[in-house]
Amino acid sequence: MMSHHLRRKLRLTWGLAAGLALGGAWISLPEKATAQTVETIHQQRQDQASQVHAQGSGHLPGKPFLDNYKPPQDLSTEGHRINWLFEYTSWVTFGFFVVMATALFYFAYAFRARPGHKAEYSKGKSFWEQTVKWTLDAAVFISLDLVLIWATYKDTAEYFWNYPKGPEVVKVMVMPQQWAWNFKYAGADGEFGTEDDINTINEMRLPKGRPIMIQMKAKDVIHGFLFMEARMQMDAIPGNITKFWFDINKAGEFELACAHMCGTYHYKMKAFIRVMEQEDYAKWTTEASEWSKATFDPEEKSAQWGWKWGI
């Protein structure tokens, strides 16, 4: 039994700790919750409730039923790696699942308790029992583990970390913030941090068929860059630069989603990715770069975000 002395001490420690914690929490309340702030929150809620909510739709018209439950079409050069591995893993695991479920239901039926049926006294140590078990387990190892590890190594070396180099690479700096996407292009001089840098918000313009190299850093909280048509996702982190690349082989307008919980309006944090023909893109960058230079304002600090580009 614990001594009374020790118990008194423990009680005191717990009391102090709880007091410190709760007291501290109270201090941390930034704007003391006045009736006014509570009223503001209620007002906001009423506004939110009265706004029009985006509505879902029925199944895609004119498309096979299963297309509803596939990701958007892959439009990148390397995204097939992800599609292939997903389908491979799905089919093989489905095969094992069918074996497993069949065994479960068949055994449940065949070995159900009934008059005249007795359980066999065996502990699974016989040669053939062991053989079946180890064969199946080895099959899992070879057909799933080895293939998945091999694919991951290969894709990591050949795609994810194999950054494109050369003049055709389009460099974009991305800085998400609550709840918007900032994009920055080097402009005509090819250097970041100069007067002709192009800034866009919530619209990322990209040329078709050229590798896009992205460096990204979050302004406030962690966000996630999720671009389904390129099968690409990367976190945006405050304080750390993340790097990745992809390309897109079809012109059009696509959606960029924030994949990481980033606050109340996380669900509205989307941007458009406008993929343009290469000539159109070149024309746009030239014009936008000139416009940036003409309107450059050194006092406008909020547009001069960025960091030293390096791979």
Binding site: L22, A25, S28, T37, I41, Q44, R45, Q46, Q48, A49, H53, A54, G56, G58, H59, N68, Y69, P71, I82, L85, F86, T93, A103, L104, F111, R112, A113, A119, E120, Y121, K123, G124, K125, E129, K133, L136, D137, D145, A151, T152, D155, F160, W161, K217, I222, M228, M232, Q233, D235, I237, P238, G239, N240, A257, A259, H260, M261, G263, Y267, K270
Partner: protein, 598 residues
């Protein structure tokens, strides 16, 4: 039952420190109880309360996703009077945050570890109580304090925490989630972590020190193996998590900058929000196994008990669970593949993660092997047990998609992840918990739960639950990402409305079915058929004493002569099982003095 029991006097000399008189007052019997069985019941009731809260929150989530912008029928105006019954986006954030937090730390953990652990460990080991009864009591009341803090956080201005159950900085910093809500969340989880640590130390020590004379580690039921391994993981990793929470609390409240990055903190300190993710997931991944290991143990035992057959390859099952526990500590990086970890790390974490499939395959095949040529009795605990095999199969296999970097890049943060982890740590753990509660209920309360209601509960839970999480995985594969209040803001997700409605309706059915359990549970406690000492015909220690288990469990400390799964042994003529503390000539081991712990 056996000629080899150790006498009470002998035990007294060794165990005096944890014997205390039978409590007489309400206060000492029901409130500040030192009795592991009462503490188990306390944890169970606490867990059921929180599970109900968590389940209601999940219904709200499903309502918001399937019927965006529409007021909740009946109770909407009551819950959200300021938005005419519509769930507002800020409330949606705290609803899914609190759902995850409550289900993991306040529902599954208290039921599977707090209740089953407390109830089963001393009884199945042949001990009179936990080795540290005071610590056991403190563990519950710390959890209770944690519950109060968590409950209080619902009523503070600006609402409870709404940053996701992972509580990632910098969103979790006071600049981006102001108010008391998240601070109280951290305090509550710090207390819950402390409670778990107390429990873990108690469980591990009890299992090592208080096994009955003659009981080797492989004579322990696999339930105890699961609880033991879960407790070891808890003892190792809960402190890391609580340390992380403490640092985050200091950041929030006292202005330190452990997790605030240089670029955005005013003083230019080198805090790092990713450091928090390491601290969180080095606990977070083992946590998946902490909640599922006890369920695996229960399943491994119950499959044998209700197939009337020895557990197939029981040593290998125990070994596989041990291997998985070790691996679980080495794979957490797969939660962070998209944070820009180096290729060396991502490849290593992929490899280690996928290796888990080998021991998993072993015990999975052992489960099926146990059913093979058994004589399966479809009692309610067995139905739940078999559903764990099915759902864990689904959850385990879909883990492979997420373990490989290539596919993880697309699937990370989507509903595919949500569906996957619900199959493993929610569905399989929950159904395993139900199996355990239905199975040990007679020993806890001396009455049987109703079989018929149990079967209704089973089918109305399992079928919709499988549909629900399958639908989630499909929606996730189609691109729907997590934690979004209104998915239809995105054009490429608009057509997922029908499958989301299917998922939500399934969730509502499954949610309503839990009311059957609640009714059955509380009614059976008072009105159920009186249970015999051994209603299931099982040979582990707890079934050799009366139901409900008397104060101090065992009149004489039993000694262990057999394994826990001696069913259908041809040496037995009159019944098909052998008690662990029974000596059968030619089958059982004699108790060698050298093997005794006492």
């Amino acid at each position: 039952m056996s000629g080899h029991d150790v006498s009470l006097d002998q035990i007294h000399s060794a165990h005096d420190h944890h014997l205390h008189p039978e409590p007489k007052t309400i206060w000492s019997k029901y409130i500040i109880s030192y009795d592991h069985k009462m503490i188990a019941k306390q944890f169970l009731l606490l867990g059921i309360f929180w599970a109900a809260v968590g389940a209601i929150l999940s219904m709200l989530i499903r309502w918001a996703v399937a019927f965006p912008g529409q007021p909740i029928p009946l109770v909407g105006a009551l819950l959200f009077p300021h938005s005419n019954g519509v769930i507002p986006p800020d409330a949606y954030s705290w609803i899914f945050t609190m759902h995850g937090t409550i289900m993991i730390f306040f529902a599954i953990t208290p039921v599977l570890i707090g209740c089953l652990g407390n109830f089963c460990i001393p009884l199945m080991l042949g001990a009179r109580d936990m080795i540290f009864p005071w610590l056991n009591m403190a563990s519950f009341w710390t959890m209770f304090a944690s519950s109060i803090v968590m409950f209080a956080s619902f009523f503070v201005p600006m609402g409870p925490s709404g940053v996701g159950w992972t509580s990632y900085p910098t969103l979790a910093h006071s600049q981006w989630s102001p108010g008391l809500g998240h601070s109280l969340w951290l305090v509550a989880l710090f207390l819950a972590g402390t409670s778990s640590l107390m429990g873990a130390i108690n469980y591990v020590t009890t299992i090592v020190r208080l096994r009955a004379p003659g009981m080797g580690y492989f004579d322990m039921p696999l339930t105890i193996w699961g609880l033991w391994l879960a407790s070891i993981l808890n003892a190792l990793f809960i402190p890391v998590l609580t340390a992380g929470f403490l640092l985050l609390y200091l950041d929030r409240v006292f202005g330190t900058k452990f997790f605030l990055a240089a670029a955005i903190s005013e003083t230019g300190t080198q805090g790092d929000p990713i450091l928090y993710q390491h601290l969180f997931w080095i606990f977070g991944h083992p946590e998946v196994y902490i909640v599922i290991l006890p369920a695996w143990g229960v399943v491994s035992d119950l499959l044998s008990f209700f197939s009337r057959k020895p557990a197939f390859g029981a040593k290998w099952t125990a070994g596989s669970m041990t291997a998985i526990s070790i691996l679980s500590a080495l794979v957490y990086g797969h939660h962070m593949f998209t944070t820009g970890l180096s290729p060396l790390l991502t490849s290593a974490f992929t490899t280690l993660t996928l290796l888990i499939s080998i021991p998993s395959g072993i015990f999975f095949l052992n489960w099926l092997g146990t059913l093979w040529r058994g004589s399966i009795q479809f009692k309610v605990p067995m139905l739940f047990t078999m559903s764990v095999v099915f759902t864990f199969g689904l959850g385990g296999l879909t883990g492979l998609h997420l373990g490989a970097v290539t596919t993880n890049v697309m699937l990370h943060n989507t509903y595919f992840v949500v569906g996957h982890f619900h199959f493993t740590m929610a569905v399989a753990a929950l159904l395993g918990g139900y199996a355990g509660v239905y199975f040990w209920f007679p020993k806890m309360f001396g009455r049987m739960m109703d079989e018929k209601l149990g079967k209704w509960h089973f089918w109305l839970s399992v079928v919709p639950i499988v549909v629900l999480f399958m639908a989630m995985m499909v929606a996730g594969y189609a691109g729907m990402h997590r934690r979004i209040y209104n998915p239809y803001e995105y054009n490429y997700l608009k057509h997922l409305l029908p499958i989301n409605i299917v998922a939500s309706v399934s969730a509502f059915i499954a949610g309503a079915a839990q009311l059957i359990f609640v009714w059955n549970f509380f009614r059976s406690m008072y009105k159920g058929a009186v249970a015999s000492a051994n209603p299931w015909g099982v040979g582990t220690f707890e079934w050799s004493i009366p139901s409900p288990a008397p104060h101090y469990n065992f009149d004489r400390i039993p000694s262990c002569h057999n394994g826990p799964h001696e069913f259908s042994n041809p040496a037995m003529k009159d019944r098909d099982f052998i008690y662990q503390n029974e000596y059968v000539e030619g089958v059982s081991r004699k108790l060698e003095p050298a093997t005794s712990n006492h």
